[in-house]
Symmetry: C3
Subunit: 317 residues, 3 copies
């Protein structure tokens, strides 16, 4: 375990974190994961603190994961969901956020369809802001839970080959994963249709490949992004069937990977589209572990931005 | 009080319960009802345990009753409501449930429009599953609260005449009530239009009668089911007016019942349809007691499936 | 601080309160405001008590403020929102409320589009009823937080000149503010278009003025009500532009006020309509303080209707 390295008030993105800071989150999450395995899954770390879940874009899974993390930390919770349309002017978003802060909110967990919205809030508020996904920009807690899951199962991240497949161009998950994994020493390969995986991503330190067999041949981790059905109408996207033929993970393709390659997916899975149903449920799939680890990572993030001093301080309740 | 008889992890239906198990729930609920009458209506029995309310069919009353029961047991609570349409494939329901379980959910309280959905979940999950109503199949906690209410007011169930009126064919409440009351020794009479109360119900040990006066003459308990206005369009259902004339409980009919016959209704009441407004509010109506008792019964069920050892173990807070 | 003067079970309106009762709420709120400034913003005053938030008219801010107040008092909380249409008959509202009460609810916090709805509930229920806004009648906690904010910043209320601007005729905020401020000795001036600020309000002890410059010249407090865009279609209302020209608070008008005049607004603000954006954000604006104080006032009200014995009794947790 590294020494504690966290003095941040916000978690806005992975890009600005150091490798040490990322490792601190992962180490802290390990302690919180143990809390989740106890009969009484609760610690008093945020007792009497107020968290606002400000979701200006629909989300069920991420919101529930955050809400449960907050409950297990004993926080008081306010859920505020809004239509982006009613908040589309920056000024009005600011008003909404300031009003929430005036209720003595200590934390704003925010999802927004506009890239940079959490950064904007962090500038105008005194509360801690946690980015729960902003536009096509970043989804930092997803990357942290992905890194946690890989490290737990592979024992390390440095030196691993991680392949991310899908609609990279519009994916905040991909962007955050790339930042986190390259900072921790993994070699990241991106793969998908060339319209959705442009060569410019090589500037982020990745390899870009448009042939799936090549992309997964040496992979230790294969991370399949969800294909959005609604993208079908867009001209740059092939048909779903064509996508599945070219980039779907099926048994034949899996047979060509390393025998210990593991499969990840941020969920929810389109069974039969980006992945065969049987593979999603197999022992090589980490999909449900990602969900479990997401809870631990979100507890760790809330704990750290609240000034928590790391795993050794954590006590039961 | 009987000896404790509960070793089940799930509550899926009444059909598979023994009379002793039912009585154990009722005895435990009696202790929890006393909790509800205290100023501080809270016990720590489920502290640090996570309950997911997975409602895939709209419900307000049952969901609120469960949620309050969970709060009073000090559980952490996640409400997950979904459209059945987005979950209509069993596989997707399984994915949803497994994802919730991956968040370390200890209990899934489930309402679903498909009969058998909770049984399916119980087979694929490690969490405890509680059926909050599945299709036209069963609504076990409603039957338990009905049995509790009858026993509390009449001092017993065995030997009583209980008449259930209404749309029996499509009613999960009726099915669960029939199982519970016959197991506990009551004589159950069913009554309503012959299209909705077929003779085949006699196989469940009930008497089937299509004349209301005959059905209620000797009844100790008259349980009126809610008439669904939306059924009017269906050909097998008479008009609402005709139903009220033939099967509505009015003063003239009430005068012909035993003087100590009591009136029940699972709510919400259609005043002036299946029951006169004045009767619903009279001292012979148990309708609001059923609501109060529902809370106690749901606390008891959650407590027992969590491995609670019965009333004598219950302590204050 | 005055002696405690609160023996009420409900908070239905300001009209029926004495000045002493109002001052008791303000004094109690002062103690609760200090709780909101602590790291652990929680007291056990309502532990094990059940509050139902029954909102039969859409509201985000008021509901969140009440919900957070309830959380900080450690209450168990049920949120029940309904369409007024489905509850439009008094009888059905009564059924809904009685069902909620049968769940052992101790408090019903109610917003309703019909004036008098909370008074009706208070007559038929045993629970305490708190009016969170009823039609165009009253919004008592808003008036209490306004009075609290004025007293905190000005050191007193008696003798101050308070001007309320906007659609007074249909405003429950205006009505409650008038009652509270006149009872506490302020001189209240009302201003707005003559169709919306009829002379009949003089019977409530106010001055009615239709010229803005005259209305704000001697004001110590200028309280701007929100202009409802949807009113534009109504014949008695001028266009939004015309309203802003005649009654919007801009820099030129502000320059003519007393230098220590302070600006209030119940929110949400229509920037550029009833107030210039810059003024809303200036040091003379109390808008966000009102939000913070609303939380403290609502904690105080819940505490007092629960039989709390006033500030000196309040202890930490």
């Amino acid at each position: 375990m590294t020494d504690m390295a966290w003095n941040r008030k916000h978690l806005l993105d992975i890009e600005s974190l150091t490798a040490d800071e990322i490792v601190t989150v992962l180490d802290t999450a390990r302690a919180f994961k143990a809390v989740g395995e106890r009969a009484i899954k609760k610690v008093p770390a945020l007792r009497g603190r107020t968290v606002v879940n400000l979701f200006v874009e629909p989300s069920t899974r991420t919101r529930i994961s955050f809400e449960l993390a907050e409950q297990r930390l004993s926080a008081d919770i306010i859920n505020f969901t809004a239509e982006a349309s009613s908040l589309k002017k920056g000024e009005t978003l600011k008003d909404t956020a300031r009003n929430l802060e005036a209720l003595n909110a200590d934390f704003i967990v925010m999802r927004h369809s506009a890239s940079g919205a959490p950064h904007f809030l962090a500038r105008v508020l005194n509360a801690s802001v946690i980015n729960a996904g902003d536009g096509a920009h970043e989804h930092p807690t997803q990357a942290l839970l992905d890194a946690f899951t890989i490290r737990e199962r592979k024992g390390k991240i440095a030196g691993l080959n991680v392949t991310i497949l899908g609609d990279i161009l519009y994916s905040r998950v991909a962007r955050s994963d790339i930042w986190a994994l390259t900072k921790l020493g993994a070699r990241v390969t991106l793969c998908g249709p060339s319209t959705l995986v442009p060569k410019t991503f090589e500037q982020m330190g990745c390899r870009v490949v448009h042939n799936m067999d090549e992309a997964i041949r040496d992979a230790d981790i294969i991370n399949l992004l969800r294909i959005q059905h609604e993208r079908q109408r867009k001209t740059m996207f092939p048909s779903i069937n064509e996508y599945t033929q070219l980039f779907g993970l099926n048994k034949a393709r899996l047979a060509k990977t390393k025998p210990d390659a593991l499969i990840m997916h941020p969920g929810p899975v389109n069974r039969g589209v980006e992945i065969d149903s049987e593979i999603a449920d197999s022992s090589r799939s980490l999909i449900l572990e990602q969900v479990t680890n997401g809870l631990a990572v979100r507890m760790a993030v809330l704990y750290l931005v609240n000034g928590g001093k790391g795993p050794q301080e954590l006590t039961g309740n």
